[in-house]
Symmetry: C2
Subunit: 244 residues, 2 copies
């Protein structure tokens, strides 16, 4: 449960939109009415609305109002490839997700690795090679590198369970920010061997750099996804000629 008031308002409005309490493609009540209904200031309401805009739920129009542009996902939505961990995604969709560690090692970043990951050369790292299964099908292969000084004490046994539960629960690391790049790459022999690709010879690759609460990048992960089960959603807002 979020403690900030604007986050609570965000979820209240989001739920009313998703449940259809606010009719699709119609205008929501005006700011004035929502303020009275939700008992908040205009600024706080507007902050909640700004997040709804960002998430693609409503669109505001100066002088007119805000329109509900939410549409329920049309297909059974596989929303992998987000900042959610695999365990979280699986739980949210009531899937049976399991993982297998293929390798766990301590490495030092050489120039090649440093260039690929963004860590400084010489950085001491944990390397974790994981395979994620969904309903017994191998769908995602992850190559992860964690800074040893941040993810202190990480072991193969912990990685078997959930790395993020250890980082957040035990080490109290706050994961704040994640820069991600999605590309499509030719499948390697390793991909073909482990991912049951069928006759596809390419896969979706999500490279992410993750920062902790101190602003230091502590994780680089290259996530190689079976193309049939990869789906990446985004909502872009354009205003006054500039793209955000």
């Amino acid at each position: 449960m979020p403690k900030a008031k604007y986050e609570q308002l965000y979820h209240i409005l989001k739920n009313k939109i998703e449940s259809g309490e606010y009719p699709p493609h119609e205008l929501l009540p005006s700011e004035h009415m929502l303020i009275a209904e939700l008992n908040c200031s205009r600024n706080t309401l507007r902050r909640a609305v700004a997040e709804l805009v960002r998430a693609g739920y409503v669109q505001t129009m100066q002088g007119k109002g805000m329109r509900n542009i939410f549409e329920p996902a049309r297909q059974a939505t596989f929303t992998l490839g987000t900042i959610e961990s695999f365990a979280e995604s699986a739980a949210r969709n009531h899937w049976h997700g399991t993982s297998k560690i293929l390798d766990f090692a301590k490495v030092t970043a050489d120039d090649t690795l440093a260039h690929m990951t963004g860590f400084a050369p010489g950085t001491l790292l944990y390397y974790v090679w994981r395979l994620h299964y969904l309903n017994e099908h191998p769908l995602i292969m992850n190559h992860s590198y964690f800074r040893q000084d941040v993810a202190h004490g990480l072991t193969r046994e912990i990685a078997e369970e959930s790395i993020y539960r250890y980082l957040e629960g035990e080490l109290h690391i706050h994961i704040i920010n994640s820069k991600r790049v999605v590309t499509v790459e030719k499948a390697t022999p390793l991909d073909l061997q482990y991912l049951a690709m069928g006759d596809c010879n390419c896969l979706a690759v999500v490279s992410s750099q993750t920062y902790n609460g101190d602003g230091v990048m502590f994780e680089y992960t290259q996530s190689r996804h079976h193309p049939d089960y990869f789906r990446f959603q985004d909502n872009a807002v354009r205003r006054s000629g500039s793209i955000v």
Copy 2:
């Protein structure tokens, strides 16, 4: 040039970060100092900073300050697949981009098309089939559908030039919002015929629904990208257990 003050501040700070005036991985001046330097209120500054956070330039840390986490793109960055039009992307990167219309037609959305695009069945549409070249190489194939009542008067000749220039310049349509989904699909015979795929048999597909200033979806485009030249960037911010 953005007229809003917070957008000006955003660009001022963004430029200082990109140019290295603020040292990488160091703290920026505090809000207090930036307010004095930029001659603005705290709220306006914080709005600019919030956009820098979203764009992945800085990371704020309560009690500590804001850290510059910008890193210049390491490889010569092909950043296609954004909300930018192909013409805009090409111009920004000083590339020679050309387009070819393969088909232009007026169609009516049947149930299948309606299901795929999100338009209501029976909607009158323009269909535009385009091929985009970068330095003479065919890289992107677009299947676009525009509502006839919104993109009124669109012709094949206009599409040869720039559709968005017509929509924004002539019809004064404000493009506000674009919902996008990235997937990886098996290449069709059409893809192989037009896109010079080499030995790849998959490609990146960006499906987008674009809304105008009235909140009506007026465009659906399926953009099929040559895998070697597809790159999609994103920055995710996670806070207090919820993902935004």
